[in-house]
Amino acid sequence: MSFLREVTHGLRGLLHRNDRDREIDDEVQHYFEQTTAAYRERGLSDEDARRAARQECGSPHTAKEQVRTYGWENTVRIFAADLHFAGRQLRRNPVFAMTAVLMLGIGIGANTAIFTFVNSVLLRPLPYPESNRLAVILSELGNSSRAPASMFELYEMRQRSHTFEQIAGIWVTSRALPGKGDPEQGKAGVVTSNFLQLFSTHPMLGRFFGPEDDLENAPSTVVLSHQLWVRKFGSDPRIIGTSVPFGYGSSIVIGVLSQNFRLIFPEDASVPSNVDYFQSTPIGPWEPDGPGFLHLVGRLRSAGSLPAAQRELAAIATEINDIGARTKVNNYRLYAFSLQDDDVREVRRTLYLLFGAVAFILLIGCANVANLLMIRAQQRRHETTIRAALGASTFRLIRQILTETLVTVLLGGAVALLLGWAALKAIVAVEPSSFANLGHVGLDLRVLAFTFIIALLISAIVALAPISTVRHLKLAEDLKRSGRSKTRKQSQSTTILVATEVALAFVLLIGTGLLVRTFANILRVDPGFRAENVFTLRANVPNYDVLREVQRALTALPGVQSASTVSHLPLDDQGNWYDYYWKDGTPVDQQNTEMADMRSILPDYFDTIGAQLMQGRDFTESDDAAHQHVAVIDEILARRLWPGESALGKRINASDSPKGPYQFERDWLVVVGIVRHIQCHTLTATVRPQIYVPYTLAPRPSMSIVIRTSGTVSDLASSVRKQIASLNRNVPITHLEPLSSVIERARAESRFVSVLATLLSIVALQLALGGIYGVLSYSVVLRTAEIGIRMAVGAQRAEIMRLVFAEGFFPVAVGIVAGVILSAVSMPLLGHLLFEIKPGSPEVYLPSIVAIFALSGIAMLVPALRAIRINPLTALACE
């Protein structure tokens, strides 16, 4: 009841203000009339009665004002009036308003965009059912600390583990895609039948693999990705349960995955996020000494049991080591990571750094706004003084200033919404592949609100500066002056603010410098091959003879220098083939400890991609299974196994499959050639050494073909297609593209980071320079009289310039010193992103120092020129 009255009366007061005021006026009027009448009754004259009434009751205006200000609606009304006034103030100073709004907008917007990004990559759980229970299981053995597991190990783990509800495995390889039409290469995920369930609650159509698919005489089955289902099967839901052509036989489609199904695995696992289709493989205790190739993921019984699982895995490792041959190594160990943590391991620090950078920008922006507000408060000191003298309470003045700050920040927030949205769109548009967790990224409004509140708090603190000028008003003194001239305290705080801005901008500049230099270094990296004029395509070839035919036919094309094939192109994500190797005489317990990337090639491969054969020879046509089994190894492996002596003619044990595709067996190979290391995974890291075997020893149904031309050949694609078609061998080809595009992709992340950093530091610099300009401009205005006097007593223009520059450069110098210290402390954090440059490199520091000085000099130029154009006469007349 009473609350309702409170609201309705208040609203009436707010909406029908005139009516309410009139009512109050009437009531007060009546009261005074009655009082006057009472005095008249006592015999006083009209005039005396009125005077007596006033004496008794005070002024009717005061009474009216007192009644009017009652009620919550008045707070609202005053706020509205303040708002109105603030709007007028901002409109009257559009440059101030726009600068402040833009600075806050950029700061809040950048923070929102980056935080949204960080949130979606780091903080949001992986898009899997109960993803906090998923853990990656890795083996440590010999020199490899993140090794995949063998089927035998997986079997034993599943038998023994109690902390894991499920343990599943996957490996990804390139195989023919199921479906009609030309056989085509795709990414096949070979999984244990319990795998897909860990990553998705249910398929879009049909079912996942189950125990029935593991039975000995179970038919071949596949689960399709949504994308493949759309592309190859025309989104036909009736495909479920039907048999489709697959390789040289057929397979039954049992399920289609949902559109947003993505695999998110540690970067080094060679498991891409978009696999075309899945096949299942049964789990069994076969081949205790079999190779490790399975990437394991387990689901814990409860989310918190990871430490228990770690202990259990350690015990299981000891047990497996006792029974297994392959793992009889001295330091075999099993361990688990939360999938979420492991996935973002590399990206986490990059994103935090980015976050730090935008926080700097917000700080610089706020420092600038603080400066602007302070300058404005000084400018308006006179006005404020007059308002105070007219009876405005300190509370009312402070409220007015806060309202103005609020309006500025609100407008900044609106700008931030726009900028943040645009920035996020831009970031996602160039989404680097390492941020695999990025599904849909929308501007997070909670983040915007959060950043906005931060900005509001900062601004409220900032607004304290002008408020302090209000509180120390000395009315009489201030009224006499026109409000020009500078206090010592004020110049101290502007020095601190400008120095802070310069220091923060400097740190960003150094970071950017390091990242840009890194990118430049990456551009200069020699990947071990020459990509110019090399084209690649993928082809399905039934056997060696057809492959040789294709090679010969392509080499015969006009403009083609050479052609060859390789099982796995460098810097490509089409699965990987890597295996253990050892040299003659390695003791058994050290045999399965070191891994190399394995590549199956035809002769001329090294020449075609421009790799450098350092010693020995390339393969020839006679290097086949019938003759001596040979290999070419890279320089790194040669140095590692036979340091100080020639590797040529030595024997190395590796897996190959002379009996047919994927029928791997251990084999002794004689080293006939040594080649320069080729960057196979990233441009900057040497992951594993390489072993090349002739195709005849490791045939595969699908190969990548490489072609080197002698320059730009017009319409190479169609002539290649025609040439291969003319063989009449039914060899479908796909993915024709220049080899340089894989290099471009490999550079993408570094480019992304350095472009982003450059943009951020440009923004930061601009804000800082704006700050310097603003402070100095205002200072020149305040010192007009002083400069006028100096000029009047004969100061030269150069001296005046020096005066202005000295005032400007002082905080810049302080800021640079602080910036150098801050950078020295913080730059080592960038370490993992840098390549061939030290965090403390003077070749980045020195140019940055020079640049900041030069740029701030330019920012000071306008105020300085304005100073020397001051006319002494007018300046003095002003005062």
């Binding site: 009255r5 009366h9 009546h30 009261y31 009751c57 009717p60 009474a63 007192q66 009644v67 009652y70």
Partner: protein, 111 residues
Amino acid sequence: MTEQNTDVIQGTLDLLILKTLSLEPIHGFGIARRVEQVSRGVFKVNPGSLLTALQRLERAGWLNSEWRNTENSRRAKFYMLTRAGRKQLEIQEADWNRRSSAVARLLRQEA
């Protein structure tokens, strides 16, 4: 808003208003006059405070108001007690009696 100088003891203005209105509906000036007369001039009511207090009590649901014609046919705002107001008066009266007798006892003891 009663912090304006008033000769009425802080906090008793509400009670005085309610008590006055319990006799009959009356306008602001009438309330002030009656409080003065009954207290024999001990309490003087300031119009600003009085009218503000009336607004507050009305919003609390203890009073209703109405514009009526006075005996000399001048329009004035009359206030009247609501049922809740009557109840409130009882509470406040009891409260006041309890307090004042307690204070009186204390003073007697001192003396």
